[in-house]
Subunit: 170 residues, 2 copies
DNA sequence: ACGTCAAGTCCAATCATTGAACTGGACGGT
DNA sequence: ACCGTCCAGTTCAATGATTGGACTTGACGT
């Protein structure tokens, strides 16, 4: 995806960025963790040109990070879902998110251990249970108060607490 | 750095990527952790066009991730060094590196707790001492064996074990 | 005064991204 | 069977970013 310069390096960071380091890609993956699964939902939530979204999604499928299948519920839609390899990107995503939260812009949502409701610490660890839940055990809940409110269906669905990886109903 | 689309979002991940998500940027930061400090050393190690490197370095300085000062040792060079905010990117970098190592390409180097020499686990934690060392306490050591050997001075200096953040002598 | 070196800048060619309009298959209603 | 709609793209011209190479500027060192 990112050309030879990245792939040529004998460095696993460069290789990771070769797949995940293009513009938009990590935001698409974030949305996939939020439970977004359809082309039009990614498009509306990210405000990304359709051509780029199409390109990125097929790149991610080819890289084994997303899986594309026909939607069992309707034969005219497809769903994109994180593969096991994709789900293992959670720690990297969370670490960037924590950094952004501290150094750029306080997020409007928290991430809590679904089992006990305790907010995760900066390592993604639940201080109450002393374990590091995987994304499937994390609940993301919007902070109440000042939200400059996007109005696309995904943003609306995310106004209530939501367990990561669980399909959003939009 | 990455335009309005990223900055506009009320999401700390998007904001982080706004600063750190451009092409080359995370590799520059990786090199800064390795102890690279001079323009020409970044350039030679990354094979990046000088114009782009110049652009990225000033962006990172402006974003408060790198600090640019005259080299105390010579009045014709400058050094770029990670600020405290920059050093806090280590967990995110390490998480991506671990993912790349597992899913893309086994790295040619390990990361060990400098105090005891134990390789860090996937969370960046030292299993022997049961703590998570900061980058200043991490030793990176090249795996021996098949290395397709770059020959620039930085790559050569990194052929021996090196403590992160410590200036490389190139 | 001369050549060298570090750290850039400048430029034309190439490549990627954008936004808007278009396509084509699948429904759903009548 | 026909019509309008919706999803998931593709196509295209305009704009913006990246590239590699040549050029510039300000210190040195001799």
């Amino acid at each position: 995806m990112l050309g030879k310069d990245y792939e040529a390096q004998d460095c696993s960071l460069a290789r990771a960025l070769g797949v995940v380091g293009e513009r938009w890609t990590l935001l698409i993956i974030r949305d996939a963790f939020y439970g977004v699964r359809r082309f039009n939902d990614f498009q509306a939530h990210l405000d990304i040109p359709r051509a780029v979204l199409s390109d990125r999604l097929s790149g991610l499928v080819e890289a084994g990070i997303l899986d594309r299948r026909p939607d069992p519920a309707s034969r005219r839609t497809h769903v994109y879902e994180l593969t096991a390899a994709g789900r293992e990107l959670w720690p990297a995503l969370y670490a960037l998110l924590v950094w952004g939260d501290r150094h750029r812009h306080r997020t409007s949502r928290t991430y809590q251990h679904a089992a006990c409701g305790t907010p995760l610490d900066e390592h993604g660890c639940c201080p109450h249970c002393a374990l590091t839940p995987g994304p499937e055990d994390i609940l993301t809940v919007p902070r109440r108060g000042r939200g400059k409110a996007r109005s696309d269906p995904v943003a609306v669905a995310l106004r209530r607490p939501h367990r990561l990886l669980e399909p959003l109903d939009v």
